[in-house]
Symmetry: D2
């Protein structure tokens, strides 16, 4: 299958490409790939673990994926150099297309000089047409689009332009740039072309009503938002424990430090806001009440792509006595995120082949802020994913095999 990556030269995208190619060549095993678990046996028949990549970029657009991967590797050394060497030839052939960074905020602007259509005077409609052509020419109805570009600022929501597909297309035609941003345009382009779209970032992507409408209309599956890779993964795994034991969480501190481009972008308040909202809402969704919560992300340059999270939970047990729980997560962001890109691609592709469309809520397992569901408990999400997979493609008349239902 084909994977079109938005932000193709980023550390997550390049690590995913390195990994996919290394897997094909048996340089590495399938460790880290959810879709390779025995629970998902059979997926290899629909979506074999063989991928062709391309994508849009706004940086280093004349360089190939190997050049970009090497830059990230030199900073991070996040995997064995032998792996990179082993896939060099494959990555040398992958070259991105120029994209858009419309309204991506000061964080993205700070990454250096950007190559983006809006900087050259193109209108929204012109940009979208180019994006559609690029994507469809490569994917040819045999793949998906995944957004791994930097986090955008919280979108300035407009009832007129975001609520209906008609409004959205008016915005494009009238070139109303204030209410458009890059992730929307990409999502529109993908869905318009009938290609499944996965949003691995907290950017708005396909989550506005207008684009959900488009997905239904064109019968395309999409999923998001914001890959659940580190602290939030741990948090949503452990948080239910306090609930099950009827203990009250008095406060939860989550403090994250990281370096690299992601750290640079998130060091800008506007760009960070989307991320913090995405991370912070999981406690209320878990408990039904809102414990006192600190949820922070800060730049720490020397860590590069190594992300450390410090969590502290103050909880009250029997007789009102307070106790403490601390955790430290010392992870490597790209290593945690990259395999999920491949997983999301495979599941979305399988969904399409099996006739599913609209928001695939059952893929919430992969996301911090899963669309159209309040289930954030990692364990329930995994159960739901398994059952959904098991029932995929069953004739609609038959009863589903599972019993777990979505909803709050």
């Amino acid at each position: 299958m084909k994977i079109w990556l938005l932000g193709m030269h980023g550390v997550v995208a390049t690590t995913a490409m390195v990994g996919a190619k290394a897997l094909e060549k048996s340089i590495v095993d399938s460790n880290g790939l959810v879709s390779e678990l025995p629970e998902f046996d059979g997926i290899e028949k629909i979506a074999p673990p063989e991928f062709d990549f391309s994508g849009h970029e706004i940086r280093w657009i004349n360089e190939d994926a190997y050049d970009a991967a090497l830059k990230h590797w030199n900073l991070n050394k996040h995997y064995d150099y032998e792996i990179l060497k082993g896939v060099k030839d494959d990555l040398k052939e992958i070259i991105p297309k120029k994209g858009t960074a419309l309204n991506c905020g000061p964080g993205v602007e700070s990454l250096g000089e950007l190559s983006a259509f809006e900087k050259e005077g193109y209108t929204l409609r012109e940009i979208v047409d180019i994006l559609r052509d690029d994507i469809s020419e490569f994917v040819k109805n045999d793949g998906v689009v995944i957004n791994v570009a930097s986090t955008e600022p919280v979108v300035n929501f407009s009832k007129d332009y975001h609520d209906t597909l008609e409004g959205f297309e008016t915005m494009l035609d009238d070139n109303i740039t204030d209410h458009a941003n890059a992730s929307m345009l990409y999502a529109y382009a993908a869905l318009k072309e009938g290609i499944p779209y996965g949003n691995f970032t907290p950017s708005v992507g396909s989550s506005i009503p207008a684009l959900k409408e488009l997905a239904i209309k064109n019968r395309v599956p999409h999923a998001g938002n914001d890959g659940k890779t580190g602290e939030t993964l741990v948090k949503t795994t452990i948080a239910p424990m306090f609930l099950y034991r009827n203990m009250t969480v008095e406060g939860w501190m989550s403090y994250n430090i990281l370096g690299d481009d992601d750290g640079k972008v998130l060091a800008h308040a506007e760009n960070k806001e989307s991320k913090v909202i995405s991370k912070d809402s999981v406690l209320e969704k878990t408990y039904g009440y809102s414990p006192y919560s600190i949820c922070e992300i800060r730049m720490f340059p020397s860590l590069v792509d190594n992300k450390i999270a410090f969590d502290f939970v103050h909880f009250r047990g029997f007789l009102g006595s307070k106790m403490k729980f601390y955790f430290i997560w010392d992870g490597i962001d790209a290593i945690l995120a990259a395999p999920l890109i491949l997983d999301i691609a495979r599941f979305l592709y399988t969904a399409k082949k099996r006739g599913e469309y609209g928001v695939i809520r059952e893929m919430g397992f992969f996301f911090k802020s899963p669309m159209d569901t309040d289930i954030v408990n990692t364990h329930r999400q995994f159960e739901i994913l398994k059952e959904w997979y098991k029932n995929l493609g069953r004739p609609k008349g038959l009863p589903k095999k599972g019993i777990l239902t979505l909803g709050t």
Copy 2:
């Protein structure tokens, strides 16, 4: 309902009694009580949260429960003194019966001079008869027996005496003391009287075939072993996360320190062994393979009943890259354990009223080493408990409401 506590003067038992009485008087709320969650609505009609207590002891047997509770409070100050004051009159009336500490190992012997029948020359059969009389006279078919006595050494299993009820009774009649220990005798006494038995400790209790046979024969429910209160609770909550993401656990270190009587008893290698086996097996049960594992408990006197666990997980993700996860659990053992005593009592009592008997595997949620099941994932255990409760008492002919099944 009545709760007969084995080890009535221990810190867990006294805290449970304080809490139960304080709850009745609305001095405290139901925080920490699983059975008070909305998922278990209706249990108050079968097993209302009102409890009468008594029990067996081998220490301070002329003292009342208030005296014992005060001793523990003075060392630990683990809850507000006002709570203890508020239930003083209730606890003054609770006085234990003399029990047995047969083959309880050097750890228990180190607690001080013990008052136990075997020290006065009673035979096994004589001891068992007294225990049965004490329990049935108090409980009168309206309650349960819960074991919260100190951890015994690993039992010296005997095919002759432990495998069948007949063999077990021969052991009693022939006074074969080498193969008997206190927790077995208590479990036998309870089950023989038709009273549900819960084992909150890693001691053998009712888990030998002979006593399982007795429970089936007498149609009594029983459950155990070893209350899941601290590190193991966190471990079995978080461990599945690595599995869901197909990441390999290279090693897991669990290091526990605590003081108090529990620490004193576990400082003795023989007594500690049962506990470590109970804690250590959860990784293999979770993963199917055995990661390198360190699982240790050590005495740390100044902590008294404050138990701190240090865990470190070394895991391998995509492309073979290793990452680290640490947690520190700073809990108060009795605060964590005490409410579960009341929960287990209520669920066992409800099981009996609803006609369930034998090992109640669906209560595995409460235990480190749940009998007759390999499911240790806290989340699955909670789902199973909920479904079991929902279906309790449904006529056998009807299909069960849930789909989750037990087994590996």
Copy 3:
């Protein structure tokens, strides 16, 4: 000796009073008191550990010290209730005088309705006259003044009014309230009366040139600023280690959470700024270079006076390899701070008796931002304190016994 406390009803002040009285009555031992170390033998002859207390307040000014101590105890339970009971009579007699909260910022205003002279239309000169009368009447040349009031915003420095004593007094006379704040007025009052002044807070206190001039002129010793009690104590103890081993600190994260009044005041950006500057400068003073640094304080209500610090040090060793060090400090702020109040009082009092005056730089051991010295290494500070004490009162002609010198 007498101790006049600015912020007499705060948790630190009341805990110091409880401790001092409990020590006199042998209810507690001298654990935590630096001045009771064998290194300071003989101090009991000059400044015996017997203290009378009074002070200024802006809250609860009609209540006595016991009432205030009990309020704090009920929230924090930071020591045994028996201790508080044992000194109740002593504290019932201690009642504060009304003080000033001039320009203390929104954090202090948020504590509730304040009783302060400036709110009743008094001029600076009138306020200062009252403060002087209150202090001198109580202290009678036999004690010290210690500032334990809440942290003020960073002062708006004025060359005209802060640089010389003459300018300062012009400010008072002309009632230039914009450039005055409470801690300066108190410091002026104390020094003007010839009474030693210790500043346990990061507020400006006596650290402006004008007041240093006054201290020299009136031959009064003073010391400050900002008691070194928790994270900064650990940080300045451990930070030199990396220097000694010639390892480079790439970054240091310090993240503090606490509740209580202190947390409330510091939740206001203006008030927090003083504190963060005070804490943050220690790395540069230690290393000569400025590692990347995060230094944050955040409110966490359920902790009350329990303060937790999370530190992470990323350091580079031989061959450029990076390594990690983490610490968690789980302390009780008032317990750490209170004994130092008594220590600072005794050392300042001893200094005065031995003829020392001006800034006592050798007392830097007690402070986060010691005045007039860049030595922040806790070990060197302790050596310096010991030597200074040993040489106190030696005739000026004789060579000093020690060799450690101050300065960068």
Copy 4:
């Protein structure tokens, strides 16, 4: 200068050789080298940072230092591969001589088949003669010997053979192998040849009276024992803080995990014992009393040479209130140890050139169990090292510049 390494193919020795050569070629900077601090200016004139290496080994004795370094690098990747490539030619030329592993215990035996003289029937005297020849031929009075071999079991002390040089030589002549072990024989060989000896391990080395006598007689400086690189470095830096503040340490837990050869050797109780004694005594030396202490080292294979220490300090402050301090040290053993090999070599060499001999107590800064002194406080040790260096070679008649004295 020349450095003769005992255990030349180990991870510490090879990392030291790589680093020294990389430093000469300016591939790396002097980060991590104590002797390159400004405090030790001038040392480059006596002991320039240029080193020739050779040594004894019992493993892989036909391989060169590059082969050994590469093996360790492949397991650990503890520094940039470019560094290793840059010094390949230099290391290819370094080939060890066969040595001895006499009475090195089961831990060392477990490393694989050993090449050692005692296995071929040589007598003690014969072995010692060979060792002396090997060392003196290479070092030629222009270097030092450093022991970086694996930890030996605690020595079986013999008054007859260890107390005097005469007794020791009788042991050699009479071939009394029960009371001899490898580290003694090497230390004897070095000192007998007049070559300074540094013991970076907890093995006995030169610390028996007989060898101290030899060092005095031959006017050779020696120093040890057991390089202070990780947890003990942090511990002896932070422990004095509690003392300075007159707070009582109720208990201190130190739990270390590591993999690699060091972990393998220390997994054997006999070999671990020396290490634990060395680490554990620092608390008593710091406080004068012995807090409750846990001090453990455990194998954790996946960490390889990455060593993680978990420490917990329970301390009591003012009014008897208890507080908690935790630290996690995530270091790379060889990176921490290797530069100290070069430092110790340079200081010992300088000492010799300046006419110092016997135990150089002032080098205690580098060791966990410094010989002939109870000073373990890292800060005092650094001050002492600086002053000693400053006064090195001053005519004996003149007063020393410093004042810090050794002794308890």
